[in-house]
């Protein structure tokens, strides 16, 4: 009886250890991916194409600048075209321990607007990204589980520890270069968004996707974001990433 009880306990302990190991493996993989993508700053010019359910295409351009990395970064996204939207900006201040702060700047009315936490699940200006998708969250804000490999890639389940519109996500990470190639985000209703990262190339030693495509499963619309003039570790001033700077630079 004792032996049997002992065997059961050992089996459970082994299972827990195996799960923990896999979770630890998953975390380690994501950490490594995060580490490899790390840079002091980033700048690119993006072209955004929203392809609606009726295949109507709306194109916009923006300039993106980021200072810092993963959980401690600050980012500024400023639209440059078409003329009607030029100057509209979004400032994101990421935090390691909580959701980011976001402000939108609208030059035509000359004022900023704080994006409330409750509104982060809404679409980012008619694209298929949500405001939350624009956040850079630190690895420590999620719990991970390694799932069986798919197509030679790691498949990892990630569950947010902080409030989020998503209940869990699946990430596919290339074993060769630790780049995230695909993300599927699920909410209470099921699969909500699919993000595919394509056209990878190395920029200053960092494997970078030149094209990101997001699919809104419910609306059946797609947004394609292409990165041009991508630079890492460019000199950017800290005071550029403040609400005051939003007003000043408009």
């Amino acid at each position: 009886m004792n032996n049997r009880w002992m065997a059961q306990r050992l089996a459970i302990a082994a299972l827990v250890a195996a799960v923990a190991a896999r979770a630890e493996d998953a975390r380690r993989i994501v950490e490594e991916a995060q580490k490899r993508a790390q840079s002091a700053s980033q700048r690119y010019e993006g072209t955004l194409q929203v392809i609606g359910a009726e295949n109507r295409i709306a194109t916009k351009r923006w300039v993106f600048e980021r200072l810092g990395s993963f959980g401690q970064s600050k980012a500024l996204l400023r639209f440059t075209a078409p003329p009607e939207v030029k100057g509209v900006a979004l400032l994101i201040v990421n935090h390691p321990d909580r959701a980011s702060d976001q402000w939108m700047w609208r030059p035509a009315i000359g004022r900023e607007q704080r994006i409330a936490l409750q509104d982060r699940s809404t679409r980012f200006f008619g694209t298929d990204f949500s405001f939350e998708d624009l956040e850079e969250r630190d690895v420590n804000q999620f719990d991970y589980k390694l799932l069986p490999d798919e197509g030679g890639q790691w498949k990892i389940e990630s569950r947010p520890r902080k409030p989020s519109q998503y209940t869990y996500s699946y990430l596919w990470i290339d074993k060769s270069n630790y780049t995230i190639t695909r993300a599927e985000m699920y909410n209470k209703a099921g699969l909500a968004r699919v993000i595919d990262y394509r056209d990878f190339e190395q920029v200053r030693g960092i494997w970078t996707a030149r094209t990101t495509e997001v699919l809104d499963v419910k609306r059946k619309s797609r947004t394609i974001l292409k990165f041009d003039k991508l630079e890492y570790d460019v000199p950017l001033k800290e005071d550029l990433f403040t609400v005051e700077a939003l007003r000043r630079e408009s």
């Binding site: 009726e54 609208r106 030059p107 009315i109 704080r114 994006i115 809404t122």
Partner: protein, 846 residues
């Protein structure tokens, strides 16, 4: 049932026109009741549906009256754990070429958590959400609105904003249904931050719409939000938005109910008159029935049954008439909602609610049964032997008159007693009823008395015809007393309503003379009461510099809730008001009252607010404000007509401190001696007209506006007067028709004895004029008492203002030819019927 079929039905068929006339009073009474309540209910239902559509999934709304509150409140609300979504809203009505348009300023990012905007096109997005947000001229309109004006995406609409006329661009068209069907599609969506700029709201929101997390009850949500925000905010479900409208419409309902009751009362007398005469006419028939074994109970039941059927027919006709009239009245009632939302509410469907139909049937039947009770009893008491003899039984016995007089005196004595104790509302209303009862009971005796006075006058005018007509009235008072009573009540109602209007206009004119004495008024809209737009306080300084301007009084009027009731809060420079437009104090000392209010040591209440809400001079009043609860004593009460719900006057400094708002709706401008109003007006328009939304009204413009609003208020009163006159005329037609039928034999004898047709016609006409004259004497007299009660009801329960007694002599004078003319016209057909009938048949009539 058999008796009804065998006896009553043939009689009814023979006297169809008379039956129709008899039912008319009930029809009108029931019709007015059904129309007013149905219109009210339909508009209210449509309004509630509009509130629901605008509210979407909103469970609670946070507001602080019309001034709104600072933006930072939103973050405090969003931080409450029980809140799932919170979205700020600004509401403003703007005038377009085809009526007003309600613009809803919403946060386009978060608002979809609460509201659905189903848009045209397969893509559910606005044409381009980023462009919509980036451009402050973006507007989303409904498909109905767009179709009416041939608008498509990117069409331009000019609107008058605080910065003058601006062109807006349609960047989204909402599909019909849901939010888009509110106010018949006259609703548009704008980004809230653009709306702040367009409507001059600074960094303020009108309200915040809130949805709670799953499992959180409304009570829990309210408690948590109150704890987070403090006591200065109203936190309630969207449905309570209808309360302001209900408070306004309640006044109309009460007014129309009084008319209904009067019309039914008059209808009761018409039925009584018809049946009382029918009993006399049919006494032979009753005698035969009794001789054949019919019991008294069966005879009584037969007449009561006839009365009930007549009442039911009148009620059903009234239901149809009311339902048809309700459609016309909804436009009028819906217009009242402009006060709440700035946009009139139309009712999509008009249905008579089961409770209204049920109440109408009960009222109609109760009236007809009550009216039929005395004639039925008289029929049951008919002695079969005497009934089969021929002769006159028309005159009521002196004993019957004496009993009536005794009852009348008792009623009168009790009503006087009730007057002495009239501070108790039920006692007051009982006294009113008793006074009317006394008048009704005295009507036959008074009618007889006036008929006797009339006889020599009538005889002098036409010796034969006049004497015959007067004798007919004297000898058969039962035939005409019901009509006289009905006419008396109708005319009393007309006098009281006319008096109410006259007294109101007189008091309003006096108020305007004192309170509205500035030379010019600078407003944000053509309508002086519109509050969608505001001016910055700094404009006052600019206006003061304009040549010819002696003094500028900035004033801010905002609707707030005090003790769960809407009231107009007026923030003004009280020291300047006291100097320039000092209203006399109804309670308190005027000098001290203005001094203390100017120092922020108290508030001045309007008489109607104080009375309707039972607030007395010296009491503390608590007003919830974003800064907290403002507690101030009532330092005085003035007679003020500026708002139907009442007003509270406080200093601008206090308002600014508690509402964080120093804007103004109106600048009252006094000119320097000798300055030309037209020239100063031009200078103001030249200085500011192009930069901002601004209107300059002259004193006479504003007074005309107030009179127009008052006319609109009394619009329903004029309808009530028309109904009262109509019922009175119907009563006369009925009485004469009955009289002619009743006197066919007498007329036949007259014609056989050589009476000329002209003479008979003139006899009928003079009898009609006699009824009219008696009705006028009694009605105009009772009207004096009725006016007292009406003014008292208005003071207590309707408008809360003691508007003073003024007998409407012009109305009374106008009624004399109107009623005599109507009586004459009403006599034409019966007069012709009297001379056209077969002489042989007439002599065989009995």
């Amino acid at each position: 049932m058999i008796l009804l079929r065998l006896i009553s039905w043939p009689y009814a068929r023979k006297h169809l026109s008379r039956i129709l006339l008899t039912t008319a009073g009930i029809m009108l009474g029931v019709g007015v009741f059904v129309a007013m309540h149905t219109a009210n209910q339909s508009v209210l239902a449509a309004f509630r549906s509009t509130i629901d559509r605008i509210a979407g999934r909103t469970q609670l709304q946070i507001s602080a009256g019309e001034p709104g509150f600072d933006e930072e409140v939103l973050e405090r609300v969003q931080n409450v754990a029980e809140v799932r979504a919170a979205a700020p809203v600004i509401e403003a009505a703007v005038s377009t070429d085809r009526g007003n348009l309600l613009i809803l300023g919403v946060d386009m990012l978060g608002d979809r958590n609460l509201r659905n905007y189903d848009l045209e096109g397969a893509d559910e997005s606005i044409d381009d959400p980023l462009v919509f947000l980036a451009q402050p001229d973006s507007l989303m309109v409904t498909k109905t609105f767009a179709a009416e004006r041939n608008l498509t995406i990117n069409s331009r609409i000019p609107l008058r904003t605080m910065e003058g006329e601006r062109v807006f661009v349609v960047r989204g068209i909402m599909k019909p249904g849901g939010l888009a069907s509110a106010f018949g599609g006259n609703i548009a969506i704008m980004d809230i931050y653009a709306a702040q700029k367009v409507f001059g709201r600074g960094r303020k929101f009108d309200r915040i719409d809130v949805a709670l997390r799953e499992g959180v009850t409304l009570a829990e949500g309210i408690a948590k939000l109150r704890a987070a925000l403090g006591p200065g905010f109203q936190i309630e479900p969207p449905s309570s938005r209808g309360e302001e409208f209900e408070a306004t419409s309640r006044i109309y309902e009460l007014g129309s109910d009084i008319t209904s009751v009067f019309a039914l009362f008059i209808g009761m007398f018409i039925i009584y008159n018809t049946f009382a005469t029918a009993v006399t006419q049919r006494r032979a028939e009753i005698g035969i029935l009794r001789a054949l074994g019919a019991t008294r109970g069966q005879i009584g039941a037969l007449f009561l049954g006839e009365s009930a059927i007549t009442g039911l027919a009148g009620t059903l006709a009234g239901l149809v008439f009311g339902a048809l009239t309700a459609r016309a009245m909804t436009g009028y009632i819906g217009g009242l909602l402009e006060e709440v939302y700035g946009v009139a509410q139309s009712a999509a469907s008009i249905e008579v609610a089961p409770w209204i139909a049920g109440a109408a049937i009960v009222m109609g039947l109760a009236t007809s049964l009550t009216a039929g009770l005395i004639p039925a009893r008289a029929a049951a008491m008919v002695d079969p032997v005497k009934a089969l003899q021929k002769g006159s039984y028309l005159s009521p016995g002196e004993g019957e008159n004496r009993t009536r007089r005794k009852w009348a005196m008792a009623c009168a004595a009790l009503s006087i007693l009730a007057l002495m104790l009239n501070r108790y509302t039920p006692v007051f209303y009982a006294g009113y009823l008793l006074a009317v009862m006394a008048a009704v009971l005295l009507a036959p005796s008074l009618s007889l008395r006036v008929s006797k006075w009339l006889r020599p006058v009538w005889k002098r005018i036409r010796p034969v015809e006049g004497a015959l007509a007067a004798d007919s009235l004297i000898q058969s008072p039962r035939r005409s007393s019901g009509t006289v009573a009905a006419l008396m009540l109708s005319l009393a109602l007309v006098i009281s309503l006319g008096g109410l209007a006259r007294s109101s206009y007189r008091s309003i004119s006096e108020w305007m003379r004192i309170a509205l004495n500035p030379d010019l008024f600078v407003t944000t809209a053509e309508s002086a009461t519109a509050r969608s737009f505001v001016f910055p306080a700094s404009l006052a300084g600019g206006l003061r510099k304009i040549e010819g301007v002696a003094e500028v009084q900035p004033m801010r009027s905002v609707r707030v809730m005090v003790k769960n009731a809407p009231v107009m809060l007026v923030a003004a420079d009280i020291e300047s008001l006291a100097r320039r437009a000092r209203l006399p104090a109804v309670a308190g000392d005027a000098e001290r009252m203005y001094r203390r209010a100017a120092a922020g040591e108290g508030v001045i209440l309007s008489e109607n607010y104080a009375r309707l809400h039972g607030v007395r001079y010296g009491e503390m009043i608590e007003i919830a404000a974003p800064e907290g609860i403002l507690r101030l004593p009532v330092v005085g009460v003035v007679r003020d007509f500026s708002d139907q719900q009442g007003s509270i006057l406080l200093s601008r400094e206090m308002f600014s401190r508690y509402w964080h708002d120093d804007a103004a709706n109106v600048f009252r401008i006094y000119l320097k001696p000798g300055a030309s109003g037209a020239a100063v007006r031009q200078r103001i328009l030249a200085a500011y007209g192009a930069q901002r939304r601004l209107f300059v009204l002259t004193n006479s413009d504003l007074r005309s506006y107030v009179i127009r609003v008052t006319d609109q208020w009394f619009g329903l009163t004029y309808i009530q007067i028309a109904v009262a006159v109509l019922v009175a005329v119907l009563g006369i037609v009925n009485a004469l028709t009955v009289s002619i039928l009743d006197r066919r034999r007498e007329i036949g004898v007259l014609r056989a004895a050589g009476g000329m047709r002209r003479q008979i016609r003139q006899t009928v006409w003079m009898e009609a004029l006699g009824i009219g004259a008696i009705g006028l004497v009694l009605g105009l007299s009772l009207g004096a008492a009725q006016l007292y009660y009406t003014l008292e009801i208005a003071r207590r329960d309707l408008i809360g203002i003691d508007i003073g007694y003024a007998y409407p002599f012009p109305v009374a004078l106008a009624l004399v030819p109107a009623i005599l003319g109507a009586a004459f016209l009403a006599a034409l057909a019966p007069g012709e019927s009297a001379v056209r009938g077969s002489l042989v048949e007439a002599l065989e009539y009995e």
